[in-house]
């Protein structure tokens, strides 16, 4: 169980005249994520959703507030202690290509977390990596390829394999499918759903697309300006959202079907 208690992240910024001010990227967020459940978090760029993701996997340290994983307060730990706990919380970042070391082969990239956290023989390591490739539905011939020789969808799968390698308790997907082609996007989304059945963990999907959020989970958080404005625990359809901002996000979605009226309505928000 992951429990987040009133966390804040404040950045110090300087404007063009050198005046200092502060920006609250995450402005007091609390929630509890249950085991073996998936959650979605929707927000625009600038809503603080990516910062929140970074706080959850301790890439950045929260200015205030606590994060508990299975009852243990991780906010009190030092940098090195956190490092030893990293097998518990993993993140898949938005841009798959740039989140893989260009000088590493697929095998090296996937095996890296295993090498750090587990003492495995060469055979065991090989076996585990092949297993992971199977999990993310990639052919085993790819192991010796480099990132620039792979397609966007394949790269994404490798990032996912890296994240699930250590059987973490929490996996955060930051914009898991944005920037992918539609058909690839659908395949990755379906993979995520299959993966969820095989691998028990807490999943948090962060996205700007409320449609994707709804597709992946029934528990949807809506975030705006560093605050969670709505938590919809029973998000079956668009109409179950109550907050004004959530409704605006839904209204802004491009239409599913063309209509003559829609084309001519000029309505600037």
């Amino acid at each position: 169980m992951i429990q987040v208690n009133d966390i804040y992240k404040t950045y110090k910024i300087k404007d063009k005249y050198g005046n200092k001010s502060t920006l609250n990227a995450v402005n007091g967020v609390s929630f509890t994520l249950k085991e073996n459940t998936s959650y979605s978090l929707v927000g625009q760029s600038g809503s603080g959703k990516s910062t929140l993701a970074k706080l959850l996997v301790f890439v950045e340290k929260s200015t205030e507030g606590e994060i508990f994983i299975d009852g243990e307060n991780l906010s009190l730990l030092s940098k090195d202690q956190i490092r030893k706990k990293r097998s518990n919380f993993q993140m898949v970042m938005q841009d798959a290509k740039s989140s893989l070391n260009p000088k590493y082969t697929v095998f090296e990239s996937i095996s890296e977390p295993l090498l750090i956290f587990e003492k495995l023989s060469k055979n065991q390591l090989n076996h585990r990596v092949m297993n992971l490739l199977n999990m993310v539905e990639l052919p085993q011939e790819l192991t010796e390829r480099y990132p620039h020789q792979l397609s966007g969808g394949q790269l994404k799968r490798i990032c996912i394999a890296r994240a699930i390698a250590l059987n973490p308790k929490l996996i955060v997907f930051d914009e898991a499918v944005s920037g992918l082609d539609v058909t690839v996007r659908k395949k990755i989304l379906e993979l995520l759903i299959r993966l969820r059945k095989k691998l028990s963990a807490t999943y948090l999907f962060i996205t700007h697309d409320i449609d994707v959020a709804l597709f992946l989970s029934k528990n949807v958080f809506v975030m705006k300006d560093g605050v969670i404005v709505e938590y919809n625990q029973n998000a079956n359809d668009f109409s179950s959202f109550k907050h004004e901002y959530s409704k605006l996000l839904i209204k802004s979605l491009p239409p599913v079907y063309p209509s003559q009226n829609n084309n001519l309505k000029v309505n600037i928000i």
Partner: protein, 260 residues
């Protein structure tokens, strides 16, 4: 109605490798019509735009075919003549950050663009610029004119880009993934501006990978795959009776929940 722009048998090869990027692309666009080109990465949809605008380096690419605008073939035109035509065909790109010069104020860039195309004083151009920004419903226009590109968000810059485009009164606007990098609600705003353009009888070529954008704007849809047009038809026909397997796949992948 007669086509404003007509593309006939456009083909494109990379000279060095001999790889064909576009294969016999032909379509036409009428006045005030919106043609949507949809395809995934590598389908050659952006290359088609570049070829239409004569922006491809002829030393790297072999280009065949005709691009007919106002009864003249752009492919056979010299650089000087193309400059004049340039005012009639505008391009809106995906990343507005790179379309602006980062070292100049927005105002300077707008007034300069105006003065390249029209003879007028700086002050007149400035007022015209403000007017143009107001036309796309931007607030605090004076502040905007004084800011640098990095101070504004992508959505804001894209709307300024549209303001500049509209100001030049083009006959055809080519939007190459113009809303891809934007948030859902900024995208909605930008799409509304495109709708307005359409109302003003400007022809639009919308290049996208998103059927939502197509549904919102297009009258006529071209589906591209691997440098070829696999299907082209009226929007309603595409949505109701897609013929090609690939079109069906794309349409299918588009709807995740549909709001359920």
């Amino acid at each position: 109605m007669k086509n404003v722009l007509e593309i006939k048998d456009l083909s494109l090869w990379v000279k060095k490798t001999g790889i064909q990027i576009l294969k016999n692309i032909s379509f036409g666009i009428e006045r005030g019509e919106v043609v949507g080109i949809i395809g995934e990465s590598g389908s050659g949809k952006s290359m088609t735009c570049m070829a239409i605008l004569q922006l491809l380096n002829k030393r790297i690419f072999n280009i065949n075919g005709n691009v007919i605008f106002n009864n003249s073939d752009l492919m056979k035109m010299g650089k000087e003549k193309l400059k004049i035509i340039g005012k009639d065909i505008s391009l809106v790109m995906q990343n507005p950050m790179t379309a602006f010069n980062p070292t100049l104020r927005i105002g300077t860039q707008i007034t300069e663009t105006i003065r390249v195309h029209n003879k007028m004083s700086g002050k007149q151009a400035y007022e015209m610029g403000i007017e143009a920004l107001e036309k796309v419903h931007l607030n605090r226009t004076k502040e905007l004119m004084h800011s640098y590109p990095h101070m504004l968000s992508g959505g804001m810059l894209q709307r300024i880009m549209l303001a500049i485009t509209l100001m030049l009164e083009p006959k055809i606007v080519i939007a190459d993934e113009a809303t891809t990098a934007l948030d859902v609600n900024t995208q909605a705003m930008v799409l509304e501006h495109f709708c307005q353009m359409k109302k003003n009888n400007i022809s639009l070529i919308v290049v996208t990978h998103d059927f939502g954008v197509i549904a919102k704007l297009a009258d006529y849809v071209i589906v591209m795959k691997d440098g070829e047009i696999v299907e082209q038809a009226n929007v309603f026909d595409i949505f109701d009776r897609p013929n090609h397997e690939y079109t069906k796949q794309l349409l299918d992948a588009r709807i995740l929940t549909g709001g359920r």
